[in-house]
């Protein structure tokens, strides 16, 4: 027997099982869904306001420390905030308690001139990896080596310098959600014309890259 036949049999069995549930109807009225949605939106706004205050305070501290001459809030979601600075760097702050929408983040980074492949549940890399990641990205908490553990409760901040990106390279940013609740983030530069992706989380830091893990959940 082949794969198609096996899948067909499993599909038929599951469809038949689902068929036995045809009398199961969703009883929740639309109004109740909308009410729950409004409550969720209020919570999200509250988190957003708190996040704005934190980001604004962080930006002020960063400006004082690094001499950034100004910043403009760019994109703000429950999971991440992007802020562009006058010196053409861009800061990404991640809320580890929310799942990042990889496609949305990739798109938003692109709008700020950062060529990135953002993936959730997979990671892309090239062999050999282009060098120079330390010029393209810097991290807070500061990367203490190729592998850095983020303390509980800390929102990691990544500062991108798009001008330092080597020609023909992109930043690969892979996010993995472990069954323990921890998130793992791996960063490496990839050759835009030649890279491959794997759903297996790198067990250690990727070659010429950086790995973060948090314990916030």
């Amino acid at each position: 027997m082949n794969d198609d036949s096996a899948l067909g049999t499993v599909r038929d069995s599951l469809t038949a099982a689902k068929g036995t549930l045809s009398e199961a109807h969703m009883n929740t009225p639309l109004a109740a869904i909308v009410q729950r949605g409004r409550a969720a939106r209020r919570r999200r706004r509250l988190i957003g306001l708190t996040g704005t205050a934190v980001v604004a305070a962080s930006a002020a501290v960063v400006a004082g420390l690094t001499g950034f001459s100004g910043s403009a809030p760019g994109v703000q979601t429950a999971a991440f905030t992007l802020v562009s600075h006058a010196n053409r760097t861009v800061t990404l702050t991640i809320n580890p308690t929310e799942l990042v929408d990889a496609a949305a983040l990739q798109n938003d980074l692109k709008q700020y001139g950062i060529a990135a492949i953002v993936t959730s549940g997979s990671f892309c890399s090239s062999v050999p990896a282009p060098v120079g990641i330390s010029q393209v990205v810097s991290f807070y908490p500061k990367a203490t080596g190729p592998f850095t553990k983020i303390p509980r409760g800390v929102r990691p901040t990544i500062t991108f310098n798009p001008a330092a990106m080597p020609a023909g390279a992109e930043l690969s940013f892979g996010i993995f959600q472990h069954s323990s609740g921890e998130q793992q983030a791996d960063f490496v530069l990839v050759d835009s014309s030649s890279y491959s992706c794997s759903s297996t989380p790198p067990q250690g830091p990727p070659a010429s890259g950086v790995q973060f893990q948090d314990g916030s959940r």
């Binding site: 027997m1 549930l21 109807h25 549940g121 759903s199």
Partner: protein
């Protein structure tokens, strides 16, 4: 499509698919209601998605895993990432569903999206943020597990 129209057309289908996965009628209704509430919040973006009902089902299944993890922490049990065991509601039982619920989350998502919601590989890959080839690998492994858990499926195939 307006949200109300989407809810009307998709709610029973989403409930039935989630119910197959979790086995408890009340829990399934609550998970799906919460997922639809999230969909309402994000509807301006979600309405343009190719498969918004798959998004709702996935949100409900993920919420169930989060709920189970919280419960696991509260009761201090060790274990690995498994589906919530079928409740004693008596609503659904059977070897197939037990085997489905025993699959790792990612395999269960792929089976649900590909076989129950009839999404193609590309759309499933996009929704899960994984490569199309990985979808195939998960599906293959899930089918192997389901078949080995259910010898009568192999008999059916042999007759075909």
């Amino acid at each position: 499509m307006e949200f109300a129209e989407f809810y009307e057309s998709a709610r029973d289908d989403c409930l039935q698919v989630v119910l197959l996965n979790v086995g408890d009628r009340q829990l399934a209704e609550d998970l799906v209601a919460e997922a639809f509430a999230k969909a309402w919040v994000s509807w301006r973006k979600l309405r343009n998605y190719q498969a918004p009902r798959a998004w709702v089902v996935r949100a409900a299944l993920n919420a169930n895993v989060s709920r189970w993890r919280r419960h696991r922490r509260e009761v201090g049990l060790d274990g690995h990432d498994q589906a919530v065991p079928a409740a004693d509601s008596g609503v659904l039982s059977g070897e197939l569903l037990a085997a489905l619920r025993g699959l790792p989350l990612r395999q269960r998502e792929v089976v649900t999206l590909r076989l129950l919601l009839d999404l193609d590989t590309e759309t499933t890959a996009r929704l899960l943020g994984i490569a199309p080839g990985t979808v195939g690998v998960h599906l293959h492994r899930a089918a192997e597990t389901l078949r080995s858990a259910l010898p009568h499926l192999a008999d059916q195939e042999a007759r075909q």
